[in-house]
Amino acid sequence: MDKPAWLIKNGIRLDGRTPGDVRPMKMIAGFLDKADGSCYIECGKTKVVVGVHGPREVHPKHEMQDTKALVRCTYNMESFSVDSERRRPGLDRRSTEISKVSAQALEAAILVERFPKTAIDIFMEVIQADASTRVTALTAASVALADAGIPMKDMVTAVSFGKLYGENGEEVVAVDMDKPEDNFGLADCAVAYMPNIDQFTLMQMDGNLKIDEMRAGMAMAKKACREIYEMQKAAIKRRYE
């Protein structure tokens, strides 16, 4: 992929979106049969399958918690999901970090004290990676948890925001980075957000942002998350139609 001359021009991004637009999304709750809850999601060309197993017995035993459920997350990218050469199968350091913060971001919403001494395992399989994979997976995970009937204080919705360079050197904050924007953008920030409680439960950023750009990005992300929240609710509703 070669670096484009601009990522945004006259307020329109390479793929035609405005800064506040998320890519077209598709969610199918209950995609899997053997998982207790599941969701297939597409966000633009990014595709993820999430399966939830639990609440169930904890293995290994010594990880069991007496007063609440253990929430574990495994973020995994299929070897062929990337646009470059084949990814070596298995969890690398990046996956390990994402798995850790994703579990925390989701646990924030789950009523874990209702299921002491159990495990809730969330498996995220990235089938096709076109940037913003972790936030897409988090959005799907929340739907999968609901599909599994696990009670939550709020849904977790997630989106990325970042900073794009324009034709004339201007810098523009926008949401839902796609692959060229992720590769060449000036900053990338993944957030998970609980729309009713109005709190961020995940935030990972790299690049360079001034504090006002952070403010703008967070505001745009909250707006996008509310839109995604409606799609999550619709996906869960479709499941029971």
Partner: protein, 261 residues
Amino acid sequence: MALTSEITKKTIIDLVEANARLDGRTIDQFRNAKITTGIVPNAQGSALIELGLTKILAGVKLVVGTPYPDKQDEGVLATGAEMAPIASSDFEKGPPSAASVEFARVVDRVIRESGIIDTKALCITPKEKVWMLYLDLYTLDMDGNLIDAGVLAGMAALLTAKMPTYDAETQTAGYENLTAPVPVNGKAIGVTHAKIGTKLIVDPTVDEEAIMSCRFTVGINDKDEVCAIQKGGVAGFTDTEIIWMIEDSIRHAKELRKVLP
């Protein structure tokens, strides 16, 4: 473990004895196989199979590599398979289990030994550069008979895969605007029977696998010959049973080829 309840086991055994099954099939009937190809644009070929409730995603990546010393003018096929814990509460995290190693190796054997991949056509420069053809399988939903489903998914991915271009200067692959197909000359099929009581049933579900005494997989090449066999499980088969299963597998293979692209 996702236990098959005792009552379900009893029901399955009684039904099989009467040539019937829990999901309405006869004992010699395959489940419906639905294949969706092209689901992963980043792969050179991909397919999602739904064999009943079993779901497997297959993807093909072609990368530039060096040939093996003893086969200097041939590309390399490498098959991987993960029985990821998303698919079943029986699957665990961590290093590949013996079961997943067997799964990957048997799928590989059926495809490789059928001779349908023209590995010589995957040679770029003899002794120096060849295409490495990686076929990776991810089990997403486990309702039994992974091997046959894995062969179908793998074949569908291979049959729809496109060759990358080769940039001689940088000695790397280009993955944009691909048109030439991967050199696959035929359709390999795997057919698995399981033994429950005295009966041989085809295409077992996970509940059936939980009570089978043993299983038998036959790989069939385009000429209706046997190209691979893998017996699994503890009990034994008589030669009469084995010959019958091979003949039956050849029959099923003819039908299964039709669902492939």
